[in-house]
């Protein structure tokens, strides 16, 4: 086998290994670490009102970003998969910052003021015909205070 051929084979094998490792790393890329991520700071009332006032601007600023929200807890429920769902008070009746918790250790009670960090999923407008206001959704949330 000639020296040139050996080099070509080595380059091809090397490229294949590097490509394979890169693909494997990409495929197994972990989800964003919400708990330790840098977050946009805001309050529940400001976050909700920003979606009501200018939803396009709020979407650009907050959607798919890690946001840390402070606010008063109005309800703590559980969803179908037994995750805690914390509702933070807004100035619109029956509307909330709807926080689905990834944090299983946090003990949260209605009435307390807390800070919650999570990924903002946007505003799911309610049903105007039925008079149901929408919520701003935060997912994969952690209590930070």
């Amino acid at each position: 086998m000639g020296k040139k051929l050996k080099i070509v084979i080595a380059v091809i094998v090397g490229a294949a290994i590097i490509g394979g490792v890169a693909a494997w790393l990409m495929w197994n890329k972990p989800h964003q670490d919400v708990k330790d991520a840098t977050a946009i700071q805001t309050t529940a009332i400001d976050l909700y009102n920003s979606f009501l006032k200018d939803s396009a601007a709020a979407k650009t600023t907050y959607t798919n970003e890690v946001v840390e929200v402070s606010g008063e807890v109005t309800q703590v429920n559980h969803n179908q998969q037994n995750q805690s769902v914390v509702l933070l008070k807004t100035t619109t009746p029956d509307a909330a910052i709807n926080c689905t918790m990834e944090d299983t250790a946090a003990i949260i009670k209605p009435g307390e003021t807390i800070h919650i960090k999570g990924i903002c999923n946007g505003y799911n407008s309610g049903d105007a015909d039925m008079g149901i206001p929408g919520d701003v959704l935060l997912i994969r949330c952690y209590k930070t205070n």
């Binding site: 890329k29 179908q80 709807n98 689905t100 999923n121 946007g122 799911n124 039925m130 959704l137 997912i139």
Partner: protein, 182 residues
């Protein structure tokens, strides 16, 4: 005069008790894609759903970016390549229970229902008909349903390179409790 007032109060009370709508903002929609290469599941726990026990109207609204996958890359591909969530952020179903008389909302039990209506997803609307179960327990309403969706019907195209990884028809499961009354 007194009789008139009593009659009006009775009519108002009756109207209120019959015109009942229940809703949740944290219902669950899951989907499951089974293929020769891999099985893919995703859950969304932030489903807005409203059921009107008088008319049988049943609605669902969900933000596509809320579907959570086991792998981050799957989530990215789902939103960027397949659902185009920036362009089509929501999936909406506005249907009706076609056999509403089969459900006694005042009596505990499980009732088999058929729901039909338009499902809009990825900018395409198709009529979907699905069987489901409405369960009444101690006055609380819950509903479940399983049905199939053909991705091509919603113009969701799968690149040939991952054709073997994603099923052409995916199973959709809906499960909602309705704790809020209007």
């Amino acid at each position: 005069m007194k009789k008139t007032i009593v009659l009006m109060v009775v009519i108002l009370a009756a109207t209120h008790s019959f015109a009942q709508k229940f809703y949740t903002k944290n219902g669950l929609i899951s989907f499951y894609s089974k293929s020769s290469m891999e099985d893919i599941t995703a859950d969304n726990n932030e489903v807005l759903s409203v059921i009107n026990t008088t008319t049988g109207d049943l609605q669902f609204s969900v933000l596509n970016t809320g579907f959570h996958f086991k792998k981050a890359l799957m989530e990215e591909h789902f939103n960027e390549n397949y659902m185009e969530s920036d362009k089509y952020p929501k999936a909406i179903f506005k249907g009706k229970i076609t056999n509403l008389s089969a459900v006694n909302f005042a009596k505990d039990g499980s009732y088999t229902v058929t729901v039909t209506g338009p499902l809009t997803m990825h900018g395409v609307t198709n009529t979907v008909t699905a069987d489901g179960t409405v369960t009444i327990k101690n006055g609380s309403i819950s509903a479940t349903s399983k049905f199939k969706i053909k991705l091509a019907d919603y113009e969701i195209s799968i690149p040939s390179v991952v054709k073997n990884n994603i099923a052409e028809i995916v199973d959709v499961t809906v499960s909602c409790n309705y704790p809020n009354k209007m």
